[in-house]
């Protein structure tokens, strides 16, 4: 398992979702991706995208104006 980071700060939805999607494509099942965002819309959109596409949200935390979403890549083909 590898932990990866993605900086999606200052991007507005749906761009953080698109960047997450494109990044996840290159990862392996079980890998973890931490996405740092500033648009609060991601709190709905990234979990929705994960539910649809079979990935798991491990954590959503907020620090100052930043939102960090931790995703575990699912086993999808």
């Amino acid at each position: 398992m590898n932990i990866h980071q993605l900086d999606a700060r200052r991007l507005l939805c749906p761009l953080p979702v698109i960047r997450t999607q494109d990044r996840v494509k290159a990862l392996q099942p079980g890998d973890v991706l931490q996405v740092t965002c500033t648009d609060p819309g991601v709190k709905n959109d990234i979990p929705a995208w994960c539910r649809i596409n079979g990935h798991e949200i491990e954590d959503i935390s907020e620090q100052d104006d930043e939102i960090i979403i931790t995703i575990k890549v699912g086993d999808i083909s």
């Binding site: 939805c13 749906p14 929705a48 995208w49 649809i52």
Partner: protein, 348 residues
């Protein structure tokens, strides 16, 4: 065993694409959704900017539709390629700067590329004949199929019976009898179909799926192109057109004045790209100056306009901070402009 056929569905997040997708899923086809982000989409952005909208629950309707239907969803960034569609539409614009016919052709073409790369069989859309004045007419629907290169791989389940047979129908992958013959603006057949599917909730984005259909937005975009002397834009430009009140008191500059806290906060992030003004003696908006070669007189004029939108508008004098792109600032005092002195045509 017969091959499992696969279709990709263009999902805008609206009602029609939801019903079209469900119609094909019911026929045992594996469907996944695709949604193109052009930069002009109504989804997202503005919800995130304006504070008053922040309290409302936000959702991306395309993702929401996919979740309701239980299908996968692919969102594709087409910002760069889409510029050519907006700038040089071969079929021209609709009522505003919406190049709907070229836009639909472009999206179907991108979907065609996608099915070729992902080994899918055909494309579906929620188009209905006669529903939109430009792109959804009986004579323009074949244009989309032809110019996109999709030809008879493009199936419109909601009005397929009014159109020539497509490959998926001829091959028997889908049963033409179970497709629909909707036409025109009436929503009744859609409502009946939703009831049949047990769909009780759907999104109907007000005013269409993109900002280019909006008259006020298009006016600002046209003004931007005219001032630049050429049709050109970057993502930041088209985002800024969604934010603030735009006032052009002189041909060579305009002001973008925040209308509320959310917009002011968003605009803060652009202070390195624009000279900015902010009232300090009174509560008031942040304003960005979009233009070059500003004389002292221009700055005074800009400041008095910004002061007019502050709580000091009735005061004799308002103090403002003028900040350069590099971050150096000076303060200045001006008399707020009177409402009567602001001609209507300054407002974009």
């Amino acid at each position: 065993m017969s091959t499992q056929r696969k279709a990709v569905s263009l999902i805008s997040g609206g009602f029609d694409s939801m019903l079209a997708t469900k119609t094909i899923m019911e026929q045992g086809i594996h469907v996944e959704g695709i949604n193109f982000f052009t930069g002009f989409c109504v989804e997202g952005h503005t919800h995130a900017i304006r504070k008053k909208d922040k309290e409302k629950p936000k959702r991306n309707n395309a993702l929401w539709v996919a979740e309701q239907l239980g299908i996968k969803m692919h969102i594709v960034d087409v910002i760069e390629e889409y510029k050519d569609i907006v700038i040089n539409p071969s079929h021209g614009y609709g009522q505003n700067l919406n190049p709907c016919l070229d836009c639909k052709g472009f999206m179907v073409k991108k979907a065609l590329q996608w099915i070729q790369e992902n080994d899918f069989d055909f494309i579906i859309t929620g188009e209905v004949i006669g529903q939109r004045p430009m792109s959804q007419r009986k004579d323009t629907m074949p244009v989309i199929a032809r110019e996109s290169g999709a030809g008879d791989l493009l199936l419109r389940p909601l009005c397929a019976k009014n159109l020539p047979e497509t490959l998926p129908e001829r091959e028997g992958w889908v049963d033409r009898d179970k497709l629909h013959d909707f036409s025109g603006r009436s929503r009744k057949p859609q409502m009946a179909l939703a009831a049949e599917f047990g769909i009780e909730e759907w999104a109907q984005p007000a005013g269409g799926c993109c900002f280019l259909t909006d008259a006020a937005y298009s006016k600002k975009l046209a003004d931007m192109w005219q001032t630049r002397g050429e049709k050109r834009y970057e993502l930041d430009d088209i985002m800024m057109l969604k934010v603030g009140r735009h006032v052009r008191p002189r041909p060579h500059f305009k002001l973008i004045i925040g209308r509320e806290e959310g917009e002011n906060n968003f605009m803060q992030g652009y202070r390195k790209q624009f000279v900015s003004l902010k009232t300090v003696s009174h509560a008031g908006p942040l304003a960005l100056i979009d233009g070059d070669n500003m004389s002292d007189e221009d700055i005074q004029l800009a400041a008095s306009i910004v002061a007019r939108f502050s709580q000091g508008k009735a005061a004799d004098e308002v103090e403002l901070e003028l900040r350069s792109k590099e971050g150096t600032s000076t303060t200045m005092k001006v008399a707020p402009m009177l409402a009567d002195d602001m001609p209507e045509e300054w407002y974009l």
